[in-house]
Symmetry: C2
Subunit: 278 residues, 2 copies
């Protein structure tokens, strides 16, 4: 299941059934790429955790202490994924959070996904999900533990046999894929949705925004279909070109290929495996 | 924390950190009143569990086997609350549920809430929450484990020092309280919101619908404020009259008093404590 767990700094992998994490999803998480025993984009992950803690009124652990735990668990692992859950502590039943409740830290280490070169060279196939994200500005952008919508949207993709799906919100705007952010290139310019009402502001999305000029604005499905290139971003899979959305085909433009090459240069752990190895 | 736990029929209270319950809130729950060692409204709780399992594509445990576990844990308890979580099993990370994954059964027993007579005789004070329920028809009505909106709405009530709060959806319609369903009496008739887009269809709400003629329709805040009586329903607290919504006062009408008396007669465990005892 996992390669190791640290709960509040202790080696343990058992959670109490009274946990507010189980009962209400009252917490946050981060999925962090580990490269040579170190977290990639730690500053960005911690910044999102801070935004989430503010939105939920949760205590934020000390940054240095938390980084110490991350590094202790990741030590010796060349390439892995560390999942960090921050769960609001609280005794007893009832939705009300106890004021000033501490946050429990649950770190678990997992195998990193395989990144087959063909997916990055040719792109992946996606579909439109019939599932729509609900609109909730109080929870949008942050990576909280209430992820049933993602589960249902991803189940659709599995049933359709495609790697990912694009999801609109109930106003009909495209927000993201089920587990990745969305970018489109149109007339040479890059666009990505604003995530004010739904979706998660990804750390790899942050990286792209810091490296490229990207216009953040509402996108409708028809605009995505008119794009030259469409790609997804995710901090453990990197930048994934989209090859096909149902009938419509897209290509890997020079701009997109250049962006991927820059990412692999900066974060070698995101470099796909040569085909002879896969 | 709790008076006992049964996980898949075994005495244990420790959950694996890889649980999809913790990671995604991928599951359902029921909060069941126990009276003389037996679950109250078991058929209604199981029916809602069945609707939830259908909505999430989860396996439903055998009804008789589950009831046996409920009774085993509740045995000897005159009055208590049993929380039943049904969590989709699944190894590894990733939103996609494994097809046909079994459902883990987590039962825990808790003290029942005190029901002070004054709250039922005079009513409780509530406020309007600024938090709005998001609209998600795929998850509306069922009692799933993604409850961050309830946590945030209840936190508002705690901060305001009131027992409960009324919550609208993003279209401005009143849906429910943070942890109870809403009914209003206007010109002698009863109304309750439809819960097609958000909210949980409560088991005590079912009981009221089976006993009274109630029109299920959209309600706006102004209609609630114009009502003769406003009350909330919850299966472990029963029917709670609302005394005041901010400046507006309400009374306990004969219809409401009669409905409460009928409920206490049918479910003695919901009868409030006489004041001399509290």
């Amino acid at each position: 299941m996992n390669l190791g767990v640290l709960m509040d700094g202790e080696r343990s992998s058992r959670l109490d059934v009274d946990s507010r994490g189980l009962n209400y999803g009252d917490g946050l998480f981060e999925t962090i790429l580990i490269e040579q025993g170190q977290p990639v984009w730690w500053g960005e992950h911690f910044a999102r955790l801070r935004r989430g803690a503010l939105a939920l009124g949760m205590q934020l652990p000390d940054a240095d202490g938390l980084l110490g735990e991350v590094c202790a668990l990741a030590q010796g692992h060349e390439r892995a994924v560390l999942k960090l859950c921050l769960v609001r502590d609280g005794a007893g039943r009832g939705y009300a959070p106890a004021p000033g409740a501490r946050s429990q830290r649950i770190l678990s280490l997992h195998l990193a996904p395989l990144l087959p070169m063909a997916q990055y060279r040719d792109g992946i196939e996606v579909r439109w999900c019939s599932m729509q994200w609900s609109q909730q500005p109080r929870l949008a952008g942050i990576k909280h533990l209430n992820r049933l919508e993602n589960v249902l949207a991803r189940a659709e993709c599995e049933q359709a046999g495609v790697a990912e799906g694009l999801v609109c919100d109930s106003s009909g705007q495209v927000v993201s894929a089920t587990g990745a952010n969305l970018f489109v290139q149109r007339r040479g310019k890059l666009f990505t949705p604003p995530l004010r009402e739904s979706g998660i502001a990804g750390v790899c999305r942050d990286w792209i925004l810091s490296r490229m000029h990207v216009e953040i604005r509402e996108l409708y499905p028809v605009e995505v279909l008119r794009a030259e290139a469409v790609f997804l971003s995710n901090c453990v899979r990197g930048i994934m070109p989209v090859k096909r959305i149902e009938q419509r085909q897209f290509r890997v433009t020079p701009l997109l290929a250049g962006l991927m090459a820059q990412l692999w240069h900066e974060v070698p752990a995101l470099t796909p495996l040569p085909e002879t190895v896969v």
